[in-house]
């Protein structure tokens, strides 16, 4: 199949950037979207042009590296699908596709489609863990976890940290990402001792990193490739309220 691409090119953080038109004539409907860019890049290299820089690694939908907006939607039009798992059979022959980086104040563009998401790491570093020194853990069966809690914890823990929620949000909020971690650890008995401190510290970092506030537009959950449910944000708000009103 033949596809027309309009791809965002930006040499570096200081460059203004622009959309550049390309054409790929030998695309195949079994290709993934990233393989389409591979094909384009091979051609660009041989033509003496710089290939399009983009983040990718596992190409099986779990590492969270790929970060592009396709026709206005993070990870493209297919529900619950990362870009690396998006196949061309979902596009029409001859279609024009616009490809841009994730856009958010807290995710500066590094080059072309590559953005800097280290703000997510700093949010986790500020409290998104359970302090469990190695080698001193109690026997695993000594703390039963009710299955519904374990299941909900897992559903929230499935977040891959890709940042699509931020890119989709009109406010550039990372509340879905933050809520997912708060819910994951908050559902487990092991997460209780640090629960209040965790939410206060993580929210503080979230705001300091330049992510916006949540106004419940729900775009984040629609864009999320792992279908993290919106109720993790309600959980985040409940935990935050409880932590700030019942300070020890």
């Amino acid at each position: 199949m033949k596809l027309n691409l309009r791809i965002w090119r930006q040499d570096g953080p200081e460059d203004k950037g622009r959309l550049v038109a390309y054409r790929v004539d030998d695309a195949d409907e079994d290709m993934s979207f990233l393989e389409l860019i591979d094909v384009l890049n091979e051609k660009l290299i041989l033509d003496g042009e710089e290939p399009v820089a983009f983040d990718h690694d596992c190409r099986e939908g779990i590492c969270g590296a790929c970060s592009m907006v396709i026709n206005g939607e993070p990870h493209g039009p297919q529900k619950a699908t990362t870009t690396c798992q998006l196949h061309l059979r979902h596009f029409r022959d001859g279609e024009t596709i616009t490809v841009e980086p994730f856009r958010a104040a807290a995710f500066p563009v590094v080059k072309d489609l590559v953005v800097d998401r280290t703000a997510f790491d700093r949010i986790i570093a500020s409290g998104g863990y359970i302090s469990a020194p190695t080698g001193a853990a109690p026997e695993a069966h000594s703390t039963p976890v009710p299955k519904p809690n374990a299941d909900r914890a897992f559903t929230a823990a499935a977040c891959i940290g890709c940042g699509a929620c931020v890119a989709a949000c009109p406010n550039g909020s990372a509340s879905l990402f933050l809520g997912a971690k708060i819910t994951h650890l908050g559902e487990l008995p092991q997460g209780q001792p640090e629960r209040s401190d965790r939410v206060i510290r993580m929210v503080k970092t979230h705001d300091a990193e330049g992510f916006g506030g949540c106004t419940n537009t729900g775009e984040c959950a629609v864009a999320c490739p792992k279908e993290i449910p919106l109720d993790v944000i309600s959980q985040l708000n409940r935990d935050y309220l409880a932590a700030t009103t019942h300070r020890r």
């Binding site: 590492c63 790491d121 020194p133 695993a140 069966h141 940290g161």
Partner: protein, 647 residues
């Protein structure tokens, strides 16, 4: 200078630092025997950890928690993206929660046998012992393992085992374990005990006075190359399966860190031991950039079959039961669809070679859930495997609830790697190697759900105990401008410059693809002396062509993904040669390594224990020149080598 298909036999490796005596007490005694570092001194000691997967992430977090100053490096934008994240199925542990006869000794036994008697008993026993602690540790960190309704942990069974000892978190166990290690690492970063260098790639090992003292790393965003010095260096940089171009590895996984260390003197052990995973989605076309694995746990409920007649192109539903061949159940009745990976992979290859393969390319077999769906109901199957089914459908456009999945073996994991002793120290003092990057625990074939176990055992429990023994003996400071440091920096700069200046007419990927084809054809699931010799003739030519006609656009002082790839492929072009030589010299079939010349009458792998019961550890002598083979003899006191049978 000898040609590369020759090699020189060097001195044997006799000291592996493992204690002798009763195997159950060896690890405990070794731990007691190591010298300890005073807490005040730990604060002054610096350790570099390269790689942030299960082994590297857990090692960096634990070493920092012990009080060392740690610098952690990964090429991804965040340590959370290391490829351990993609492991689906589970992690083994000898907890015996099911009361089905499991024990530390049985896990030890299964692992030694599953590795086709090419691993070390001492190491494997330690791994089985520690497996129990790993589950406790991960549960304490909040890893959401699957639970029973009573709140206790659930388990399932996996290939190569008759007991249910695999702990899992839906089909995303690797992700959850990695997030546990990553969160522990981030906690130490926040505490100031770890300095994180993401988007950095190690390009050279710095050695001073015969010891590993640091690395040269390139900042992948600015292109700046800088030296980082330390008292010890830990490589946790993963496996090298990407030498085959198509594999289940992440696109960025590479051999550079290990290969640079090998060129500086670290022995490379059993490079030809590649695991071929039986359940991957078949290749669909030339555009393909990687292969996707479907968890082996699917073999618990999926039945593998092909049509009995060659060239049968009917839709699977139109092939009646009597005309199907459930070949694993037929050939291996005791284990059925759960035979180990090497056996299942070769059986699938054999039926496809006989013309009975399915799908457009004929390189595929069915993995059918129809029986499971009618027995358990669709919701129960969806609860167990839903995300895997969804992933399959996304990639192939077919619904596995309605039609059987098509699967084919693919390159998955490399059991070979840098040689390490019992303390996980390489042949270079001060260079430690953990996880898939070392060679030690899986022998010639890895059992399912053992990779996650080994990565975490090394990182959380083994290395933090053994590295102190080296550090406690004292390490002299190195000046930042020492000649060895300058030399390593110059080597990196020269290489980068050279790659950018060739400006030929072939892309890096075209070389990588060609090398991959060559390796899959001649050094893949089945190998012959003739094929390996062909590959050994072609690889040096291909390498010459690469250095003459590769085209790497762009500049050094910027994010340049073509340059990154070029450096990695250059190293694969050297490693590939060593892999083929290792495969050629090992004239036996063993685990994932099947030599067509060495098979039993019924086509099973025939080991030749009298001649080949050793680890082959290779010493580098220069590009294209005959390497030196150091043999480490393997001794079996607790599990007697026997023909593996799963019938």
């Amino acid at each position: 200078m000898g040609s590369y298909s020759d090699f020189i036999v060097g001195s044997p490796l006799v000291d592996t630092a493992a204690p002798d005596g009763p195997i159950e007490t060896r690890w405990e005694r070794r731990r007691f025997g190591v010298k300890l570092v005073n807490p005040a001194n730990k604060r002054k000691m610096k350790i570099i950890v390269v790689g942030t997967g299960l082994a590297g992430g857990s090692a960096a977090a634990t070493l920092a928690e012990l009080g060392y100053q740690v610098s952690s490096f990964c090429y991804q934008d965040s340590p959370r993206r290391a490829h351990s994240i993609a492991a689906q199925g589970g992690i083994n542990a000898a907890k015996n929660y099911r009361g089905d006869g499991d024990s530390i000794h049985r896990l030890f036994y299964d692992t030694v046998k599953g590795g086709d008697f090419r691993s070390r008993e001492s190491n494997v026993h330690r791994l089985a012992e520690i497996s129990v602690q790993i589950i406790d540790q991960c549960v304490a960190q909040g890893v959401p393992f699957a639970r029973e309704y009573g709140g206790l942990l659930d388990t399932r069974s996996f290939g190569g085992a008759q007991v249910s000892r695999t702990f899992y978190a839906r089909g995303q166990t690797g992700q959850q374990l990695l997030l546990g290690a990553y969160q522990a690492l981030e906690r130490q970063i926040d505490a100031g005990n770890v300095t994180m260098y993401s988007r950095h790639e190690m390009l050279e090992l710095i050695m001073v006075d015969g010891r590993a003292r640091g690395i040269v790393a390139r900042d992948l965003v600015t292109g700046e190359t800088r030296s980082h010095l330390a008292d010890a260096v830990v490589l946790a940089s993963g496996g090298y399966g990407n030498v085959f171009y198509l594999s289940t590895n992440a696109k960025g996984c590479n051999v550079t860190a290990s290969w640079r260390a090998h060129r500086k003197g670290a022995l490379f052990a059993n490079p030809c031991y590649t695991q071929i995973h039986p359940t991957c989605i078949p290749v669909s076309g030339d555009h393909q950039s990687k292969l996707t694995l479907m968890s082996e746990s699917l073999r618990n409920d999926g039945r593998v079959w092909v049509p009995q007649k060659a060239g049968d192109t009917r839709a699977p539903a139109d092939i009646p039961e009597a005309e199907r061949d459930y070949f694993l159940e037929r050939q291996y009745p005791a284990f059925g669809n759960l035979v180990p990976r090497d056996i299942a992979s070769r059986a699938a290859k054999n039926v496809c070679d006989a013309g009975r393969g399915v799908g457009p390319t004929g390189l595929g077999v069915y993995l059918d859930f129809a029986d499971a769906i009618s027995r358990l109901g669709r919701p129960a199957v969806a609860a167990k495997y839903g995300n895997l089914f969804q992933m399959y459908q996304r990639i192939t456009g077919e619904d596995p609830y309605e039609v059987p999945m098509r699967i084919y073996p693919a390159v998955h994991y490399t059991m070979g790697g840098l040689w390490v002793d019992y303390d996980l120290q390489s042949s270079i003092p001060g260079l430690f190697v953990v996880g898939e990057a070392n060679f030690s625990d899986h022998g010639a074939n890895r059992l399912g759900a053992s990779a996650l176990m080994q990565g975490l055992a090394d990182g959380y429990f083994v290395l933090p105990n053994t590295i102190g023994d080296y550090l406690a003996r004292g390490v002299e400071p190195v000046a930042a401008d020492a000649p060895e440091v300058r030399e390593a920096e110059a080597a990196v700069a020269g290489r980068v410059e050279k790659l950018l200046s060739i400006d030929g007419d072939r892309t890096v990927d075209s070389f990588h693809r060609e090398l991959g084809h060559l390796m899959w054809d001649h050094c893949g699931m089945e190998r012959t002396a003739e094929g390996l010799r062909k590959a050994l003739d072609r690889i040096p030519e291909l390498r010459r062509e690469f250095w003459q006609s590769v085209k790497v656009p762009g500049a050094a002082a910027t994010l340049n993904q073509s340059l990154e790839k070029a450096g990695r492929v250059a190293d694969f072009l050297e490693l590939a040669e060593l892999m083929c030589l290792d495969a050629l010299h090992r004239e036996e079939s063993c685990g994932g390594h099947f030599r067509a010349e060495s098979q039993t009458e019924d086509g099973e792998a025939a080991r030749r224990d009298d001649e080949f019961s050793y680890v082959a550890a290779w010493e580098f002598t220069g590009q294209g020149s005959a390497p030196v083979l150091h043999k480490e003899d393997l001794h079996f006191e607790y599990v007697t080598p026997s023909q593996r049978s799963y019938k």
